[in-house]
Symmetry: C2
DNA sequence: CGTGAGTTTGACCAGATGGTCAAATCAAGA
DNA sequence: TCTTGATTTGACCATCTGGTCAAACTCACG
Protein backbone atom coordinates (compact mmCIF):
# COMPACT_ATOMS: atom_id res chain seq x y z
CA UNK A 1 0.00 0.00 0.00
CA UNK A 2 1.34 3.49 -0.83
CA UNK A 3 2.68 5.38 2.12
CA UNK A 4 0.65 8.08 3.77
CA UNK A 5 2.60 10.97 2.28
CA UNK A 6 1.57 13.37 -0.44
CA UNK A 7 0.46 11.24 -3.39
CA UNK A 8 2.93 10.91 -6.22
CA UNK A 9 2.06 11.60 -9.84
CA UNK A 10 1.69 7.87 -10.46
CA UNK A 11 -0.51 7.40 -7.42
CA UNK A 12 -2.86 10.12 -8.57
CA UNK A 13 -3.12 8.72 -12.05
CA UNK A 14 -3.68 5.14 -10.96
CA UNK A 15 -6.13 5.91 -8.20
CA UNK A 16 -8.18 7.94 -10.64
CA UNK A 17 -8.04 5.21 -13.27
CA UNK A 18 -9.16 2.63 -10.73
CA UNK A 19 -12.10 4.68 -9.53
CA UNK A 20 -13.16 5.43 -13.08
CA UNK A 21 -12.98 1.74 -14.01
CA UNK A 22 -14.73 0.72 -10.81
CA UNK A 23 -17.56 3.14 -11.53
CA UNK A 24 -18.09 1.46 -14.87
CA UNK A 25 -18.05 -2.03 -13.48
CA UNK A 26 -19.94 -1.53 -10.22
CA UNK A 27 -22.68 0.51 -11.87
CA UNK A 28 -23.16 -2.10 -14.55
CA UNK A 29 -23.05 -5.23 -12.40
CA UNK A 30 -23.56 -4.25 -8.78
CA UNK A 31 -21.11 -4.93 -5.98
CA UNK A 32 -21.19 -8.69 -6.00
CA UNK A 33 -21.50 -8.89 -9.74
CA UNK A 34 -18.31 -6.90 -10.21
CA UNK A 35 -14.93 -8.64 -10.08
CA UNK A 36 -11.60 -7.21 -9.12
CA UNK A 37 -10.03 -8.68 -12.24
CA UNK A 38 -12.56 -6.86 -14.39
CA UNK A 39 -11.90 -3.55 -12.68
CA UNK A 40 -8.15 -4.05 -12.93
CA UNK A 41 -8.36 -4.90 -16.62
CA UNK A 42 -10.49 -1.86 -17.33
CA UNK A 43 -8.07 0.33 -15.41
CA UNK A 44 -5.13 -1.13 -17.31
CA UNK A 45 -3.52 -2.63 -14.23
CA UNK A 46 -2.79 -6.11 -12.98
CA UNK A 47 -4.87 -7.33 -10.07
CA UNK A 48 -2.05 -7.25 -7.51
CA UNK A 49 -1.15 -3.79 -8.72
CA UNK A 50 -4.69 -2.61 -8.17
CA UNK A 51 -4.67 -4.08 -4.69
CA UNK A 52 -1.54 -2.09 -4.04
CA UNK A 53 -3.64 1.07 -4.26
CA UNK A 54 -6.78 -0.13 -2.54
CA UNK A 55 -6.69 -2.77 0.16
CA UNK A 56 -9.82 -4.57 -1.05
CA UNK A 57 -12.74 -4.58 -3.43
CA UNK A 58 -14.89 -3.28 -0.62
CA UNK A 59 -12.53 -0.33 -0.13
CA UNK A 60 -12.86 0.71 -3.76
CA UNK A 61 -16.60 0.55 -3.53
CA UNK A 62 -16.67 2.57 -0.33
CA UNK A 63 -14.34 5.18 -1.78
CA UNK A 64 -16.60 5.55 -4.79
CA UNK A 65 -19.81 5.81 -2.81
CA UNK A 66 -18.61 8.31 -0.27
CA UNK A 67 -17.10 10.44 -2.98
CA UNK A 68 -20.29 10.42 -4.97
CA UNK A 69 -22.72 11.07 -2.15
CA UNK A 70 -21.47 14.62 -2.02
CA UNK A 71 -21.97 15.12 -5.75
CA UNK A 72 -25.36 13.58 -5.49
CA UNK A 73 -26.66 15.89 -2.82
CA UNK A 74 -25.13 19.03 -4.30
CA UNK A 75 -28.18 20.06 -6.37
CA UNK A 76 -30.38 20.09 -3.32
CA UNK A 77 -27.88 22.12 -1.31
CA UNK A 78 -28.31 24.90 -3.84
CA UNK A 79 -32.04 25.28 -3.20
CA UNK A 80 -32.18 28.82 -1.87
CA UNK A 81 -34.83 30.00 0.57
CA UNK A 82 -34.41 33.56 -0.67
CA UNK A 83 -35.09 32.75 -4.30
CA UNK A 84 -38.41 32.63 -6.08
CA UNK A 85 -40.14 29.43 -4.92
CA UNK A 86 -41.28 28.05 -8.25
CA UNK A 87 -38.00 28.99 -9.92
CA UNK A 88 -35.95 27.42 -7.15
CA UNK A 89 -37.83 24.15 -7.24
CA UNK A 90 -37.84 23.88 -11.01
CA UNK A 91 -34.14 24.68 -11.12
CA UNK A 92 -33.48 21.93 -8.62
CA UNK A 93 -35.47 19.51 -10.74
CA UNK A 94 -33.61 20.45 -13.87
CA UNK A 95 -30.28 20.08 -12.11
CA UNK A 96 -31.31 16.60 -11.03
CA UNK A 97 -32.42 15.69 -14.54
CA UNK A 98 -29.17 17.04 -15.90
CA UNK A 99 -27.28 14.81 -13.50
CA UNK A 100 -29.19 11.77 -14.72
CA UNK A 101 -28.19 12.71 -18.21
CA UNK A 102 -24.55 13.43 -17.52
CA UNK A 103 -23.82 10.99 -14.71
CA UNK A 104 -25.93 7.92 -15.42
CA UNK A 105 -23.29 5.57 -14.07
CA UNK A 106 -23.30 7.36 -10.75
CA UNK A 107 -27.08 7.17 -10.65
CA UNK A 108 -27.04 3.46 -11.33
CA UNK A 109 -24.36 2.89 -8.72
CA UNK A 110 -26.69 4.34 -6.10
CA UNK A 111 -29.68 2.56 -7.56
CA UNK A 112 -27.93 -0.78 -7.29
CA UNK A 113 -27.06 -0.02 -3.71
CA UNK A 114 -30.54 1.17 -2.75
CA UNK A 115 -32.46 -1.61 -4.43
CA UNK A 116 -30.43 -4.11 -2.50
CA UNK A 117 -31.18 -2.48 0.81
CA UNK A 118 -28.31 0.03 0.92
CA UNK A 119 -26.18 -2.15 3.20
CA UNK A 120 -23.20 0.18 2.85
CA UNK A 121 -24.81 3.63 2.89
CA UNK A 122 -27.72 3.19 5.22
CA UNK A 123 -26.15 5.47 7.80
CA UNK A 124 -25.49 8.22 5.29
CA UNK A 125 -29.14 8.12 4.31
CA UNK A 126 -30.48 8.35 7.84
CA UNK A 127 -28.02 11.06 8.77
CA UNK A 128 -26.72 13.28 5.96
CA UNK A 129 -29.59 12.84 3.54
CA UNK A 130 -32.30 12.97 6.18
CA UNK A 131 -30.83 16.15 7.69
CA UNK A 132 -30.53 17.88 4.35
CA UNK A 133 -34.04 16.92 3.32
CA UNK A 134 -35.45 18.12 6.62
CA UNK A 135 -33.68 21.43 6.23
CA UNK A 136 -35.07 21.96 2.74
CA UNK A 137 -38.47 20.64 3.70
CA UNK A 138 -38.75 23.48 6.19
CA UNK A 139 -38.19 25.97 3.37
CA UNK A 140 -40.87 24.33 1.25
CA UNK A 141 -43.31 24.41 4.13
CA UNK A 142 -42.69 28.11 4.62
CA UNK A 143 -43.43 28.74 0.97
CA UNK A 144 -46.63 26.73 1.26
CA UNK A 145 -47.67 28.65 4.36
CA UNK A 146 -47.14 31.88 2.45
CA UNK A 147 -49.30 30.57 -0.36
CA UNK A 148 -46.43 30.83 -2.83
CA UNK A 149 -46.75 27.22 -3.94
CA UNK A 150 -49.54 24.69 -3.58
CA UNK A 151 -49.64 22.66 -0.41
CA UNK A 152 -48.38 19.12 -0.96
CA UNK A 153 -46.66 16.57 1.25
CA UNK A 154 -43.07 17.84 1.09
CA UNK A 155 -41.38 14.46 1.62
CA UNK A 156 -43.40 12.88 -1.16
CA UNK A 157 -42.61 15.86 -3.34
CA UNK A 158 -38.94 15.03 -2.96
CA UNK A 159 -39.55 11.34 -3.60
CA UNK A 160 -41.39 12.18 -6.79
CA UNK A 161 -38.57 14.40 -8.01
CA UNK A 162 -35.96 11.76 -7.33
CA UNK A 163 -38.08 9.02 -8.87
CA UNK A 164 -38.87 10.96 -12.02
CA UNK A 165 -35.41 12.27 -12.73
CA UNK A 166 -33.37 9.22 -11.82
CA UNK A 167 -35.72 6.93 -13.71
CA UNK A 168 -34.16 8.12 -16.96
CA UNK A 169 -30.70 7.02 -15.87
CA UNK A 170 -31.55 3.93 -13.86
CA UNK A 171 -34.07 2.40 -16.23
CA UNK A 172 -32.49 3.70 -19.37
CA UNK A 173 -32.89 0.40 -21.23
CA UNK A 174 -36.60 0.33 -20.64
CA UNK A 175 -37.05 3.96 -21.62
CA UNK A 176 -35.13 3.43 -24.81
CA UNK A 177 -37.00 0.22 -25.61
CA UNK A 178 -40.20 2.28 -25.62
CA UNK A 179 -38.93 5.42 -27.29
CA UNK A 180 -36.80 3.62 -29.89
CA UNK A 181 -35.31 6.59 -31.76
CA UNK A 182 -36.16 9.69 -29.75
CA UNK A 183 -33.70 11.10 -27.23
CA UNK A 184 -35.29 10.46 -23.83
CA UNK A 185 -34.16 13.72 -22.29
CA UNK A 186 -35.57 15.74 -25.14
CA UNK A 187 -39.11 15.02 -24.04
CA UNK A 188 -38.40 14.44 -20.36
CA UNK A 189 -37.35 18.02 -19.61
CA UNK A 190 -40.53 19.73 -20.84
CA UNK A 191 -42.75 16.98 -19.49
CA UNK A 192 -41.38 17.13 -15.97
CA UNK A 193 -41.31 20.90 -16.07
CA UNK A 194 -44.98 21.09 -16.97
CA UNK A 195 -45.85 18.45 -14.40
CA UNK A 196 -44.37 20.37 -11.50
CA UNK A 197 -45.68 23.71 -12.69
CA UNK A 198 -49.18 22.32 -12.60
CA UNK A 199 -48.66 20.53 -9.32
CA UNK A 200 -47.16 23.48 -7.50
CA UNK A 201 -49.06 26.44 -8.91
CA UNK A 202 -50.90 27.93 -5.93
CA UNK B 1 -34.85 -33.86 -13.66
CA UNK B 2 -38.52 -34.71 -13.12
CA UNK B 3 -40.18 -36.33 -16.09
CA UNK B 4 -42.46 -34.37 -18.36
CA UNK B 5 -45.70 -35.84 -17.04
CA UNK B 6 -48.27 -34.28 -14.79
CA UNK B 7 -46.41 -32.88 -11.77
CA UNK B 8 -46.65 -34.89 -8.58
CA UNK B 9 -47.69 -33.42 -5.26
CA UNK B 10 -44.04 -33.22 -4.20
CA UNK B 11 -43.00 -31.55 -7.43
CA UNK B 12 -45.64 -28.87 -7.04
CA UNK B 13 -44.65 -28.17 -3.48
CA UNK B 14 -40.92 -28.04 -4.13
CA UNK B 15 -41.11 -26.00 -7.32
CA UNK B 16 -43.25 -23.46 -5.52
CA UNK B 17 -40.90 -23.38 -2.55
CA UNK B 18 -37.92 -22.86 -4.83
CA UNK B 19 -39.52 -20.00 -6.74
CA UNK B 20 -40.60 -18.37 -3.51
CA UNK B 21 -37.11 -18.65 -2.06
CA UNK B 22 -35.52 -17.50 -5.30
CA UNK B 23 -37.73 -14.43 -5.35
CA UNK B 24 -36.47 -13.51 -1.91
CA UNK B 25 -32.84 -14.04 -2.76
CA UNK B 26 -32.73 -12.64 -6.30
CA UNK B 27 -34.69 -9.54 -5.38
CA UNK B 28 -32.42 -8.86 -2.44
CA UNK B 29 -29.06 -9.52 -4.08
CA UNK B 30 -29.50 -9.50 -7.86
CA UNK B 31 -28.71 -12.40 -10.13
CA UNK B 32 -24.97 -12.62 -9.58
CA UNK B 33 -25.24 -11.73 -5.94
CA UNK B 34 -27.57 -14.64 -5.30
CA UNK B 35 -26.17 -18.12 -4.72
CA UNK B 36 -27.78 -21.44 -5.38
CA UNK B 37 -26.89 -22.60 -1.88
CA UNK B 38 -28.71 -19.63 -0.41
CA UNK B 39 -31.84 -20.30 -2.45
CA UNK B 40 -31.71 -23.99 -1.59
CA UNK B 41 -31.33 -23.28 2.12
CA UNK B 42 -34.23 -20.84 2.07
CA UNK B 43 -36.37 -23.37 0.23
CA UNK B 44 -35.44 -26.06 2.75
CA UNK B 45 -33.69 -28.25 0.18
CA UNK B 46 -30.17 -29.42 -0.47
CA UNK B 47 -28.41 -27.92 -3.45
CA UNK B 48 -28.42 -31.09 -5.57
CA UNK B 49 -32.08 -31.52 -4.72
CA UNK B 50 -32.84 -28.04 -5.93
CA UNK B 51 -30.95 -28.71 -9.15
CA UNK B 52 -33.13 -31.78 -9.61
CA UNK B 53 -36.08 -29.45 -10.13
CA UNK B 54 -34.39 -26.70 -12.12
CA UNK B 55 -31.44 -27.41 -14.39
CA UNK B 56 -29.52 -24.28 -13.41
CA UNK B 57 -29.53 -21.03 -11.49
CA UNK B 58 -30.24 -19.25 -14.72
CA UNK B 59 -33.33 -21.42 -15.30
CA UNK B 60 -34.78 -20.46 -11.94
CA UNK B 61 -34.23 -16.81 -12.67
CA UNK B 62 -35.80 -17.09 -16.11
CA UNK B 63 -38.80 -18.96 -14.74
CA UNK B 64 -39.32 -16.23 -12.16
CA UNK B 65 -39.00 -13.37 -14.59
CA UNK B 66 -41.25 -14.73 -17.29
CA UNK B 67 -43.87 -15.64 -14.74
CA UNK B 68 -43.77 -12.19 -13.25
CA UNK B 69 -43.77 -10.19 -16.44
CA UNK B 70 -47.38 -11.13 -16.94
CA UNK B 71 -48.34 -10.04 -13.44
CA UNK B 72 -46.44 -6.86 -13.94
CA UNK B 73 -48.23 -5.80 -17.08
CA UNK B 74 -51.69 -6.83 -15.92
CA UNK B 75 -52.67 -3.43 -14.46
CA UNK B 76 -52.04 -1.74 -17.78
CA UNK B 77 -54.02 -4.34 -19.69
CA UNK B 78 -57.07 -3.31 -17.70
CA UNK B 79 -56.97 0.28 -18.91
CA UNK B 80 -60.25 0.51 -20.78
CA UNK B 81 -60.80 2.83 -23.71
CA UNK B 82 -64.52 2.90 -22.99
CA UNK B 83 -64.17 4.05 -19.41
CA UNK B 84 -63.98 7.59 -18.12
CA UNK B 85 -60.48 8.86 -19.02
CA UNK B 86 -59.47 10.40 -15.71
CA UNK B 87 -60.95 7.49 -13.75
CA UNK B 88 -59.23 4.92 -15.93
CA UNK B 89 -55.82 6.53 -15.62
CA UNK B 90 -56.09 7.11 -11.90
CA UNK B 91 -57.26 3.54 -11.38
CA UNK B 92 -54.27 2.29 -13.31
CA UNK B 93 -51.98 4.38 -11.16
CA UNK B 94 -53.54 3.11 -7.97
CA UNK B 95 -53.27 -0.48 -9.16
CA UNK B 96 -49.58 0.10 -9.82
CA UNK B 97 -49.07 1.65 -6.44
CA UNK B 98 -50.90 -1.22 -4.84
CA UNK B 99 -48.55 -3.63 -6.57
CA UNK B 100 -45.54 -1.80 -5.19
CA UNK B 101 -47.06 -2.18 -1.77
CA UNK B 102 -48.02 -5.82 -2.04
CA UNK B 103 -45.31 -7.16 -4.32
CA UNK B 104 -42.18 -5.20 -3.45
CA UNK B 105 -39.92 -8.19 -4.05
CA UNK B 106 -41.22 -8.57 -7.57
CA UNK B 107 -40.65 -4.89 -8.17
CA UNK B 108 -37.09 -5.10 -6.94
CA UNK B 109 -36.44 -8.18 -9.02
CA UNK B 110 -37.28 -6.20 -12.13
CA UNK B 111 -35.42 -3.16 -10.86
CA UNK B 112 -32.26 -5.19 -10.37
CA UNK B 113 -32.59 -6.53 -13.85
CA UNK B 114 -33.28 -3.17 -15.46
CA UNK B 115 -30.58 -1.21 -13.67
CA UNK B 116 -28.04 -3.72 -14.90
CA UNK B 117 -29.14 -3.34 -18.50
CA UNK B 118 -31.89 -5.99 -18.57
CA UNK B 119 -29.63 -8.62 -20.19
CA UNK B 120 -32.28 -11.31 -19.78
CA UNK B 121 -35.51 -9.47 -20.55
CA UNK B 122 -34.45 -7.01 -23.18
CA UNK B 123 -36.51 -8.77 -25.82
CA UNK B 124 -39.64 -8.83 -23.70
CA UNK B 125 -39.29 -5.08 -23.24
CA UNK B 126 -38.90 -4.27 -26.93
CA UNK B 127 -41.69 -6.63 -27.88
CA UNK B 128 -44.41 -7.31 -25.30
CA UNK B 129 -44.02 -4.15 -23.26
CA UNK B 130 -43.51 -1.89 -26.25
CA UNK B 131 -46.58 -3.31 -28.01
CA UNK B 132 -48.78 -2.95 -24.95
CA UNK B 133 -47.62 0.58 -24.30
CA UNK B 134 -48.19 1.57 -27.92
CA UNK B 135 -51.69 0.15 -27.79
CA UNK B 136 -52.55 2.09 -24.65
CA UNK B 137 -50.78 5.19 -25.86
CA UNK B 138 -53.21 5.30 -28.77
CA UNK B 139 -56.10 5.39 -26.31
CA UNK B 140 -54.52 8.22 -24.36
CA UNK B 141 -53.94 10.18 -27.54
CA UNK B 142 -57.57 9.79 -28.50
CA UNK B 143 -58.63 11.13 -25.13
CA UNK B 144 -56.29 14.08 -25.54
CA UNK B 145 -57.65 14.78 -29.02
CA UNK B 146 -61.14 14.79 -27.58
CA UNK B 147 -60.03 17.26 -24.92
CA UNK B 148 -60.94 14.85 -22.15
CA UNK B 149 -57.50 15.04 -20.56
CA UNK B 150 -54.69 17.54 -20.92
CA UNK B 151 -52.21 16.98 -23.73
CA UNK B 152 -48.93 15.57 -22.47
CA UNK B 153 -46.29 13.33 -24.00
CA UNK B 154 -47.91 9.89 -23.52
CA UNK B 155 -44.68 7.89 -23.28
CA UNK B 156 -43.31 10.19 -20.63
CA UNK B 157 -46.62 9.98 -18.84
CA UNK B 158 -46.11 6.24 -18.55
CA UNK B 159 -42.52 6.66 -17.45
CA UNK B 160 -43.61 9.02 -14.73
CA UNK B 161 -46.25 6.60 -13.48
CA UNK B 162 -43.81 3.73 -13.36
CA UNK B 163 -41.12 5.83 -11.74
CA UNK B 164 -43.39 7.25 -9.08
CA UNK B 165 -45.13 4.06 -8.09
CA UNK B 166 -42.20 1.66 -8.22
CA UNK B 167 -39.99 4.09 -6.35
CA UNK B 168 -41.76 3.15 -3.14
CA UNK B 169 -40.88 -0.51 -3.56
CA UNK B 170 -37.45 -0.23 -5.16
CA UNK B 171 -36.03 2.51 -2.96
CA UNK B 172 -37.93 1.53 0.13
CA UNK B 173 -34.89 1.94 2.39
CA UNK B 174 -34.37 5.50 1.31
CA UNK B 175 -38.04 6.38 1.64
CA UNK B 176 -38.15 4.94 5.13
CA UNK B 177 -34.93 6.64 6.13
CA UNK B 178 -36.62 9.96 5.39
CA UNK B 179 -40.10 9.21 6.72
CA UNK B 180 -38.90 7.35 9.83
CA UNK B 181 -42.25 6.44 11.43
CA UNK B 182 -44.92 7.20 8.85
CA UNK B 183 -46.19 4.51 6.50
CA UNK B 184 -44.91 5.50 3.04
CA UNK B 185 -48.03 4.41 1.19
CA UNK B 186 -50.27 6.39 3.47
CA UNK B 187 -49.04 9.65 2.01
CA UNK B 188 -48.05 8.35 -1.39
CA UNK B 189 -51.55 7.49 -2.53
CA UNK B 190 -53.10 10.93 -2.03
CA UNK B 191 -49.97 12.70 -3.24
CA UNK B 192 -49.77 10.82 -6.52
CA UNK B 193 -53.50 11.07 -6.99
CA UNK B 194 -53.44 14.83 -6.65
CA UNK B 195 -50.39 15.07 -8.87
CA UNK B 196 -52.04 13.33 -11.80
CA UNK B 197 -55.37 15.07 -11.32
CA UNK B 198 -53.63 18.40 -11.70
CA UNK B 199 -51.46 17.24 -14.57
CA UNK B 200 -54.27 15.71 -16.58
CA UNK B 201 -57.18 18.03 -15.91
CA UNK B 202 -58.06 19.48 -19.31
C1' DC C 1 -45.84 -56.52 0.42
C1' DG C 2 -42.84 -55.61 -3.77
C1' DT C 3 -41.27 -52.93 -7.34
C1' DG C 4 -40.17 -49.33 -10.25
C1' DA C 5 -40.40 -44.53 -10.66
C1' DG C 6 -39.70 -40.44 -8.15
C1' DT C 7 -36.80 -38.06 -4.73
C1' DT C 8 -32.81 -36.98 -1.89
C1' DT C 9 -28.05 -36.64 -0.68
C1' DG C 10 -22.86 -36.93 0.36
C1' DA C 11 -18.91 -36.59 -2.05
C1' DC C 12 -16.82 -34.53 -5.53
C1' DC C 13 -15.08 -31.39 -9.43
C1' DA C 14 -13.55 -27.45 -12.22
C1' DG C 15 -13.38 -22.85 -12.61
C1' DA C 16 -13.83 -18.28 -10.66
C1' DT C 17 -12.66 -15.05 -7.24
C1' DG C 18 -10.58 -12.13 -3.51
C1' DG C 19 -6.41 -11.65 -1.73
C1' DT C 20 -1.07 -12.46 -0.51
C1' DC C 21 3.89 -12.33 -1.11
C1' DA C 22 8.55 -12.23 -2.34
C1' DA C 23 11.07 -10.86 -5.91
C1' DA C 24 11.85 -7.84 -9.77
C1' DT C 25 11.64 -3.31 -11.88
C1' DC C 26 11.38 1.65 -11.98
C1' DA C 27 11.93 6.59 -10.70
C1' DA C 28 13.82 10.53 -8.59
C1' DG C 29 16.75 12.92 -5.48
C1' DA C 30 21.53 13.13 -3.44
C1' DT D 1 25.50 7.35 -11.04
C1' DC D 2 23.85 5.32 -7.04
C1' DT D 3 20.60 4.40 -3.68
C1' DT D 4 16.28 4.01 -1.69
C1' DG D 5 11.59 3.99 -1.71
C1' DA D 6 7.75 3.46 -4.97
C1' DT D 7 5.70 0.43 -8.23
C1' DT D 8 4.72 -3.83 -10.67
C1' DT D 9 4.15 -8.66 -11.33
C1' DG D 10 4.12 -13.92 -11.64
C1' DA D 11 3.07 -17.48 -8.84
C1' DC D 12 0.34 -18.93 -5.47
C1' DC D 13 -3.53 -19.87 -2.00
C1' DA D 14 -8.01 -20.59 0.30
C1' DT D 15 -12.58 -20.18 -0.38
C1' DC D 16 -16.72 -19.94 -2.88
C1' DT D 17 -19.69 -21.30 -6.44
C1' DG D 18 -22.36 -23.67 -10.04
C1' DG D 19 -22.95 -28.03 -11.25
C1' DT D 20 -22.45 -33.52 -11.53
C1' DC D 21 -23.13 -38.29 -10.21
C1' DA D 22 -23.86 -42.64 -8.35
C1' DA D 23 -25.86 -44.47 -4.57
C1' DA D 24 -29.46 -44.43 -1.23
C1' DC D 25 -33.98 -43.68 0.14
C1' DT D 26 -39.17 -42.97 -0.30
C1' DC D 27 -43.54 -43.26 -2.18
C1' DA D 28 -47.60 -44.81 -4.76
C1' DC D 29 -49.73 -48.43 -6.65
C1' DG D 30 -50.60 -53.15 -8.40
Amino acid sequence: MPKDRAPTRIQKKNRAAILEAALNVFSAHGFRGATVDQIAAEAGLSKPNLLYYFPSKEAIHTALLSGLLETWLAPLHELDKNGDPMTEILSYIHRKLQMSRELPRESRLFANELVQGAPRIHDALSNDLKALVDEKTAILTTWMDQGKIARVHPYHLFFSIWALTQHYADFDVQVRAILSEEDPFEGAGPFIDMLYRKLLSP
